[in-house]
């Protein structure tokens, strides 16, 4: 059941072995380091793919910027040189990437606004929704899955299973629409669109983000609940739960500290894997709820063929996904301390 890889166990009596506590502390740090070391090439490759999208484009950026009239061949050639577009692709890519690490993601072809500025402006919207969505997904999915497992076979369990199957097939944007229909249009409980930052007041901020977050969270919550239920049922049958019981530990403690701790792993993996789905859902949520986020930015860029913006957004988003992956792996390592702390 466990998603652990018991390699390199430090067997007792090994001569010269380091004391376990120090070794484990080191291994978490080295684990993170190792994770980063692996993810860097992946980030490089995915950013290269991102960048080369621009190269695939059949439109000439210089011509687009200059506009139809001014795009004489000489002017285009000149602008190409200025923009560095005449250099080989790999060099261009490298320039772009190094600039990106310093926070400069280029300038929009159309608005002239630096891409990083546009992104920075819109990022809080997506972050608010994403973070709240993760919290909601974990709370709802975790609670539902736990109760379903503990009262296995009961009414709640069967209800949850059915609901999960139904919700799983519903894409986030459909859920979002349903939510809007119910809560905003029919009942006028919550606003149907728009965004207010936390600076405009905590309550209005929450009011505006709760529906979109919920739309994103429900699908993931369903996946989490299902996985958690399965894992928890299997964990509760294990001998060490009996062992904990005969030591006289209170039931709630056993559930939380022993059972959930070991059962949460696969659910956590699901969360990590569903995170990109959540991001995609965020784009849908932005459309449904008219939120000024990165998704909208990207859509506009797509319509106007504004390549730097598109590249910038894609880079930021995929970096985000990679970071989340890293965090999930680290969390798994913390949860499942094996001899050498390696979780594959």
């Amino acid at each position: 059941m466990a998603v652990v890889d018991l390699t390199n166990l430090n067997l007792p009596g090994t001569a010269g072995a380091i004391s376990p506590r120090r070794r484990r502390g080191r291994s978490v740090a080295s684990q993170v380091g190792r994770g980063i070391a692996i993810l860097v090439p992946i980030l490089v490759i995915s950013s290269f793919i991102t960048y080369s999208l621009g190269a695939l484009s059949n439109s000439n950026p210089a011509a687009t910027i200059l506009g139809q009239d001014a795009a004489t061949p000489a002017a285009v050639a000149h602008l190409d040189k200025v923009l560095g577009l005449d250099k080989p692709l790999v060099v261009q890519y490298w320039d772009w990437l190094t600039q990106a690490f310093q926070g400069h993601l280029g300038t929009s072809y159309f608005t002239g606004i630096p891409v990083s500025q546009s992104i920075a402006q819109r990022l809080p919207v997506d972050l608010s929704i994403a973070i709240l969505a993760v919290i909601l997904a974990v709370l709802i999915g975790g609670t539902a899955g736990t109760i379903a497992a503990v009262r296995r076979g009961g009414l709640f369990d069967r209800g949850v299973t059915m609901v999960c199957s139904a919700v799983s097939t519903l894409p986030a944007f459909v859920v979002g629409i349903i939510l809007v229909v119910i809560f905003a249009v029919t009942w006028h409980l919550l606003p149907a669109n728009g965004y207010v930052g936390p600076t405009g007041g905590i309550w209005p901020w929450l009011e505006h983000i709760i529906l979109p977050s919920l739309a994103l969270a429900l699908q993931v919550a369903a996946d989490i609940a299902r996985q958690l239920r399965t894992s928890l049922v299997s964990v509760l049958e294990q001998n060490y739960i009996t062992g904990a019981r005969v030591r006289g530990l209170p039931y709630r403690r056993i559930l939380l500290r022993h059972a959930l701790r070991n059962a949460a792993g696969p659910a956590l993996v699901i969360l990590g894997n569903d995170f990109p789905l959540m991001l995609a859902g965020a784009v849908a949520a932005e459309v449904v709820f008219s939120l000024p986020g990165l998704g909208q930015l990207l859509l506009e860029a797509a319509q106007s063929r504004d390549i730097p913006v598109a590249q910038g957004v894609l880079l930021v988003v995929s970096a985000f996904v990679i970071v989340v992956n890293l965090v999930v792996n680290t969390l798994l390592n913390v949860l499942y301390r094996t001899g050498d702390g390696i979780v594959s």
């Binding site: 692996i38 993810l39 995915s46 894409p171 993996v269 990207l298 504004d306 798994l332």
Partner: protein, 307 residues
């Protein structure tokens, strides 16, 4: 090898009620994809200013939209574009990933390493963002948008063919079978039919479901829609603007999408349950860490459902 009956095998899949329903639904959808435009009761493009936002009626079985167009006809006509582009994406993924997966086993360690890293990277890219970003470069068309989706699907096929080839290359049963007198070709054939094809089928069904969802999503976002041509997602998004007039309207295309996707997933599940399909035991490459959690999870779930 004797033919196995009952428990395993493609025919037994159809015994599951969920699989039967799924196949029926999918057959209907494919039928619509091919013949939808011809069979639609009304012209999906006809605007009728006198019949806006009508509920279901004899003339308009699913009502009309904000321009008075018949919803049912629009959905039926839109099926083709959605379904074909979904298959396009999966096909691209298969063509890009499959052969490479086989080749990588024979082309040396460095190639394998590089290929694995590239496909890992592809798996980290969020699909919708990638597709939309790609249209910024490639132009606004559904075909162009599904190309990057296809690229993003290729890692799945890559992994299957690679694992299958590796297992086959290393498996002892090959030698054993040869010793027993079976020809190499026979063993390959059995291996492919028994294990690889079902796994492919499961993955394909799952990916088709994902592709359909993605297509609906993209058309919902306005990518690839050349109005007034109808698509499932396009119908959904246009109804969104007029929610106050017809709050129930989005449910119809939503339900259509959900049912079709659900059918694909149900078929994938049935295939997984009833055949010897499954992810191959991940060839533990000590360097791949990012996505082996997914692999390990799949293996663990496999064991759990088998247990």
């Amino acid at each position: 090898m004797s033919k196995r009956t009952s428990i395993f095998g493609p025919r037994s899949v159809l015994r599951l009620p969920s699989a039967k329903i799924a196949v029926v639904i999918l057959a209907a959808v494919i039928f619509l994809a091919i013949f939808g435009s011809a069979l639609a009761p009304q012209n999906p493009l006809t605007i009728n200013a006198n019949a806006l936002f009508q509920g279901p009626s004899a003339q308009h079985l699913l009502g009309t939209d904000y321009l008075g167009r018949d919803v049912l006809s629009r959905l039926m006509a839109g099926t083709r574009l959605s379904v074909f582009t979904a298959f396009e994406a999966v096909a691209i993924g298969f063509v890009l990933g499959g052969p490479l997966g086989i080749a990588t086993v024979f082309l040396g360690k460095w190639f394998d390493f590089a290929a694995n890293r590239v496909f890992d990277a592809l798996m980290t890219l969020p699909s919708i963002f990638f597709a939309v970003a790609a249209t910024a470069a490639l132009g606004n068309g559904l075909v162009q948008a599904m190309l990057p989706i296809g690229i993003l699907f290729s890692p799945y096929f890559f992994r299957i063919t690679r694992a299958a080839t590796l297992e086959f290359a290393r498996a002892q049963y090959v030698e054993a079978a040869e010793l027993l007198g079976a020809s190499k070709l026979h063993v390959i054939r059995v291996h492919v039919v028994r294990k690889v094809l079902p796994t492919m089928a499961v993955t394909t069904a799952g990916l088709v479901a994902g592709a359909l969802l993605t297509v609906s999503f993209l058309t919902f976002l306005g990518i690839g829609v050349q109005p007034p041509a109808p698509t499932w997602g396009g119908v959904l998004s246009s109804e969104l603007d007029y929610l106050s007039n017809a709050p129930w309207a989005p449910l119809i295309p939503g339900a259509l999408i959900a049912i079709t996707v659900g059918a694909c997933n149900a078929l994938a599940d049935a295939l997984r349950d009833r055949t010897s399909a499954g992810t191959f035991a991940p060839v533990i490459d000590p360097v791949i860490k990012t996505h082996s959690t997914l692999q390990a999870l799949e293996v663990a779930n496999e064991r759990q459902s088998a247990a």
